[in-house]
Symmetry: C2
Subunit: 299 residues, 2 copies
């Protein structure tokens, strides 16, 4: 089944202890697309400037991503520059230049409106809601957010959450959104805001899934070395949504597996700069790592 | 099979956001004993002062712990006072008075020397080695340590590690011992020091098991509320060793289950002050929580 993603396509400049890469392909919708695209048919809605390299568009197409929803506007593409330390925790943002992304007002192409799975990547919750308004009864809607929207668009965000099947957020966002220091209480509080399920991402410590009646905890897959964690969260979401789109129903069993697949996809994302490792991942690589992951965690 | 533990029996004064308890039963060997004692026969070697309340000795006996190795010396019992904040991370130590524990020189009673399982709780590695020297070919030896010994007795510690089957330590200790910021590299470095297996404890994020050929990752069991995390690590070790003592062999399968049982025991420990919750745990409670834990983590 088809998956619609609405988010950013960006040019990232990334510095890590292993080097620096300038104006490489990035953005939440990009990472999500490449990851989910390894499972199903992905339709991308985003905006870039007329400086956006054609080779990146070709790359997305070659990977099977439907880019009819990728608008090209006069101006510059969204650029982000960040630096990671040895601990690979939250990066230090050196600069964020929204450029054409600052006026992003997603228009969903007619041929996308019946997409069954929808992922609203981290953009203004008002825009996320506008996207939903354009869709024809999607089967399953997920979204991401960030601290900025929690602080500045709380009302819009909580209104959106009532329409969400799966809400992705990280630990600090969960605590900030609810004012609870206990993660389990924070999760309960967020579920009351309306989403059917939430996934709290804990980076190298894995993730937690909460629904009204269940909790599921997964550790992260251990990696010998991390090169660039940019996009790990969106790649994770791409794996989760991609796997779900191949399943008949979304239930506890399928979503637990989806989370494991999401974790596996994230490990590929961080092994090299930008999408360099993800670009070469094959279905057999995913299957193999998934089986390793299961062996590593079952008792 | 029998399990010998050598460590501290203490009187703790603990402050948490939920209250303050003065001079309550504590100490690494105490938590370990009560936890492991729910699986097998535990023999305790420790020292207390003549101020140590008789009711605590009765409690240990009632729980089936063999206390013939608990020496009573003239003087005061080891006292520790600490305070936890809302995040329940590492406590702030208010005072540590070693008292009779400062001259602790463990003498293993004749009838303990053939114990098959040995747990050397966090004491001076020189003393840990002396204990081993008194034992008659134990089947399986585990030890714990702390940053103080890593900093001040590194040589003795690394010498000891060559004789250890299972080394328990936490994440920051693993990094400090090896100077590696990557946990997987730190683990490799420690394995080279000699222990057959190591368990890296990550508190609320679970634990990692490393051996030459395998890695195993377990998330922590999620708790609605934590009351007092004191002793969680020793209770965890008690569950691991206790479960292993019921198994014919220590292999990847049994040790993975042992770690899950350790995690389950730790959740009981933190639910109330001191050993108050652990004291009332029944085998059926353990089994039930273990099954929940498995359901919570398998995919």
């Amino acid at each position: 089944m088809s998956i619609l993603v609405v988010g950013s396509v960006a040019l990232d400049t990334i510095k890590t202890p292993f080097g620096r890469e300038k104006d490489v392909l990035g953005g939440s919708a990009t990472y999500f697309s490449i990851s989910a695209g390894l499972f199903g048919c992905v339709r991308l809605v985003a905006v870039v400037g007329n400086d956006f390299p054609k080779r990146y568009v070709s790359f997305l197409k070659k990977k099977g991503i439907d880019v009819r929803g990728l608008a090209v506007k006069t101006g510059k593409t969204f650029r982000w520059e960040g630096e990671y330390g040895w601990d690979f925790a939250d990066p230090r943002t050196i600069s964020t230049r929204l450029n054409v992304f600052s006026d992003f007002d997603p228009v969903i192409p007619e041929e996308y409106k019946k997409s069954e799975y929808v992922f609203l990547a981290n953009i203004d919750p008002e825009l996320q809601m506008k996207v939903l308004g354009q869709m024809t009864r999607p089967k399953f809607v997920a979204c991401d957010t960030m601290n900025y929207w929690i602080e500045n668009k709380r009302k819009h965000l909580t209104r959106l959450l009532g329409k969400i099947d799966l809400f992705f957020l990280n630990e600090s966002e969960a605590k900030e959104l609810t004012g609870c220091s206990s993660i389990i209480r924070a999760a309960r509080g967020i579920l009351k805001m309306g989403p059917k399920r939430i996934i709290i991402k804990k980076g190298e410590h894995g993730s937690l899934l909460f629904s009204e009646n269940s909790v599921f905890s997964t550790p992260a897959f251990l990696l010998e070395s991390i090169c660039d964690p940019t996009g790990a969260g969106d790649t994770f979401a791409g794996g989760v949504m991609g796997y779900l789109s191949t399943q008949k129903t979304v239930n506890d069993k399928s979503i637990k597996r989806a989370i494991a697949y999401g974790g596996v996809m994230a490990t590929f994302a961080v092994e090299d700069f930008s999408l360099m490792r993800l670009a070469s991942v094959k279905k057999t690589d995913i299957k193999k790592r998934f089986e390793n992951f299961r062996r590593l965690t079952s008792f």
